[in-house]
């Protein structure tokens, strides 16, 4: 069942072509990796998919009507709040699942520290907790592995593969390869 159909999508800023005639179809329940060099337009394509940016040419048909879980380059965290408070304002409860995640990511002992005191990698892990709790059927993640240590990368990969088996759709940008089946959309800006 089709989720997104892109037909000859192009995107241009100030006479500079970012995306050039890209066509693809993404079905529900697929794990899709968007790959390409730096500056090739991966983030722009994600923004077009989620409707934040409008393509300058071509057509994008989105059959999804539900909310999506989106994690962009920025981490959606408030530096002046603690980990506990950041989770709270994201609507997450400190139940055993999230406490386990904090333990796994070595964040539990910092739970009352302000996020501004955490390293980039720790902040990235904290922002991923929202994704790991997501109830949405569509997850769109922009470079989710950047800043993570090897153990956390493996954990996230396993999570993504498990979620796809539950018929969720995950579209992400990355340079990391997966064990199971995934589809790759290669773009060259």
């Amino acid at each position: 069942m089709k989720l997104i159909e892109a037909k000859n999508i192009s995107y241009k800023i100030n006479d500079r072509n970012i995306l050039n005639n890209i066509s693809f179809v993404i079905d529900f329940g697929e794990l899709v990796k968007i790959s390409g060099d730096n500056g090739s337009g991966k983030t722009t394509l994600l923004k077009i998919i989620i409707g934040l940016t409008q393509q300058t040419k071509g057509e994008l048909i989105n059959h999804n009507e539900d909310k999506v879980c989106f994690l962009g380059h920025k981490n959606n965290l408030k530096n002046y709040l603690s980990i506990r408070e950041n989770l709270m304002i994201q609507g997450l409860k400190l139940d055993s699942f999230n406490l386990d995640l904090l333990e796994k990511f070595n964040l539990r002992r910092h739970i009352d520290n302000s996020v501004g005191t955490l390293s980039f990698g720790q902040q990235k892990k904290l922002s991923l907790i929202r994704v790991l709790n997501s109830v949405e059927n569509i997850l769109i993640l922009d470079e989710p592995f950047v800043g993570l240590d090897q153990k956390s990368k493996e954990f996230l990969k396993d999570f993504m593969e498990a979620e796809v088996k539950k018929n969720k759709t995950i579209i992400f940008t990355s340079h990391i390869d997966f064990k199971d089946d995934y589809r790759e959309i290669q773009i060259n800006g």
Binding site: I50, K67, G72, N79, Y80, I89
Partner: protein, 216 residues
């Protein structure tokens, strides 16, 4: 409307104490220092004090709304809201929260100052009502200014919005004169309430549109 967003916005602003206590303290400092430059026992007409309060609250609400969107824009929170079509709700609640934590406290601090000036309680109460209403108008316009200049620093957008507030200041001045002369205020008050309703129901949509263009 998602009430969780209201709670979240209230919590975020409340925790950034400098953002809401700061403007109230600045205002307090201004109104404490103002009488030091003027002999309040002399026969200065009350219009001077009230005009001074209108201008001061205008400038302090400008200060208080300086970070209304920039923080959420920089950390990606606005992007998240935009993806799920919740920008309008967020804008509406942000303005409401700034009014509750900055606009209304400013009005009450000004009310205490007006009471201390031997101005009748009736006129002071009308001034309080006017301040509560006008602060919501000011916050809406300054939020618009901040949204306009989100990527370019806040001064330019704020300077653009100040001329829109001059008619509000004129109405407030006319109200002061009418109140002191004992004339009816119904017309002026209705005008102010009308502007408040119009501004509070129209500007959030304009702001959410502007924010969306910034996120593209």
């Amino acid at each position: 409307m998602d009430r969780d967003i209201l709670y979240i916005e209230m919590y975020k602003l409340f925790k950034r104490r400098r953002a809401w206590i700061g403007p109230v303290l600045v205002f307090l400092l201004i109104i404490i220092s103002f009488p030091l430059t003027l002999d309040i026992n002399s026969d200065n007409p009350p219009q001077i004090y009230l005009s001074f309060i209108w201008i001061s609250t205008l400038l302090v609400t400008m200060l208080g709304t300086e970070l209304i969107f920039s923080d959420d824009f920089e950390d990606g929170t606005l992007e998240q809201y935009a993806v799920n079509d919740q920008l309008i709700e967020v804008v509406f609640y942000k303005i409401l929260v700034h009014w509750v934590l900055i606009g209304i406290p400013l009005a009450f601090v000004a009310f205490l100052f007006i009471l201390s000036l031997n101005i009748s309680i009736q006129i002071s109460s009308i001034a309080l009502l006017c301040l509560i209403i006008s602060n919501l108008i000011f916050i809406n316009f300054f939020s618009l200014g901040n949204a306009l200049s989100l990527k370019k620093g806040s001064i330019l957008g704020l300077l653009i919005t100040i001329p829109f507030l001059i008619p509000v200041l004129i109405v407030l001045g006319k109200m002061t004169t009418s109140a002191l002369l004992g004339l009816s205020l119904v017309g002026h008050l209705s005008l102010l309430v009308g502007v408040m309703i119009l501004v509070a129901s129209f500007i959030p949509f304009v702001i959410s549109f502007i924010l969306r263009t910034h996120l593209e």
